[in-house]
Symmetry: C2
Subunit: 173 residues, 2 copies
């Protein structure tokens, strides 16, 4: 009976249960960008390596808004590298509690861009992902995205789902 | 003295030292594809998840050429999924000794396609990467690539560098 209600078009919007939403939500993603998180402050060194090893080109970088007293240079929140027609992100691990590296023992994650962050996260959770970082807004949200939340999928991969960054936050290389 | 010989321009082509080659090689990469390796036989389940969670579309899949007696279905060597304009690969971990998961504790790696696999690997090694899998040829080389070698970069990321797969090896979804 419950199943019948769920598949009834007229009642879907009213019930709003997790699985109901999954079938209804249409989320459009505009970009997928693999992100490499390295131990701070090695991001700059890593960027030089990817240029030398693979001919990557730097499109721009976003610096961390706060600099600690013992840091000579500001940390890199996110540098955008172009490689073989794709964009990859390289970031300094500024806060060990906010990185895929901590939860997964890896510095690789995915960034998925969309204008509808909340719906995208709801849909992923409905399909079996787990929220590892609630949606945060503003300059400090990370990696040049103005609004971002993170989920971990059943295979251990962390997906940061965010809205595109405000242009002003990006420093051209 | 040895250092001086290496940096002498006239002797570069004869000596062929690693750093000399790095500066000379021009390698063109045609595609970058993140690859997710999951414990076999969960690749099919993972593909269904990425379709449900993110709306990924399957472009095709390459099956493992050999099926073990206890496997109901052949393992997936590589499925190609389209997501937000990018292609990601999902593979069953058929041989635990041949996966980035073993060396890095992660199922995420990168595939870089090029027609000049050997030069690309030489250049990456010259820049500081380490070979983790020598170039192998033929059907069993893995993931729909006809010729592939693997290097690990100084930041722990495994890069499989291979030539594009022969079309015949890909099964359309």
């Amino acid at each position: 009976m419950a199943q019948q209600e769920v598949t009834n078009g007229g009642s879907e919007k009213k019930t709003g249960g997790g699985n109901d939403i999954m079938e209804v939500i249409e989320v459009k993603f505009t970009a997928l960008k693999p992100q490499l998180v390295v131990e701070a402050p090695k991001a700059n060194e890593a960027i030089l390596f990817y240029k030398a090893a693979f001919g990557a080109e730097e499109l721009g970088r976003t610096l961390h808004p706060k600099r600690k007293a013992d840091q000579e240079l500001p940390l890199i929140l996110s540098a955008q590298l172009s490689l073989a027609g794709s964009t990859i992100l390289v970031s300094d691990l500024a806060d060990p509690s906010e990185t895929p590296a901590k939860t997964e023992g890896t510095g690789l994650a995915f960034y998925l861009e969309t204008d509808d962050v909340a719906s995208a996260i709801n849909k992923a959770v409905g399909a079996g992902a787990v929220v590892v970082s609630e949606i945060a807004e503003g300059e400090g949200a990370g990696c040049g995205l103005s609004r971002v939340g993170k989920v971990k999928d059943p295979y251990g991969v962390v997906w940061a789902i965010g809205s595109p960054a405000a242009k002003a936050a990006v420093v051209e290389a």
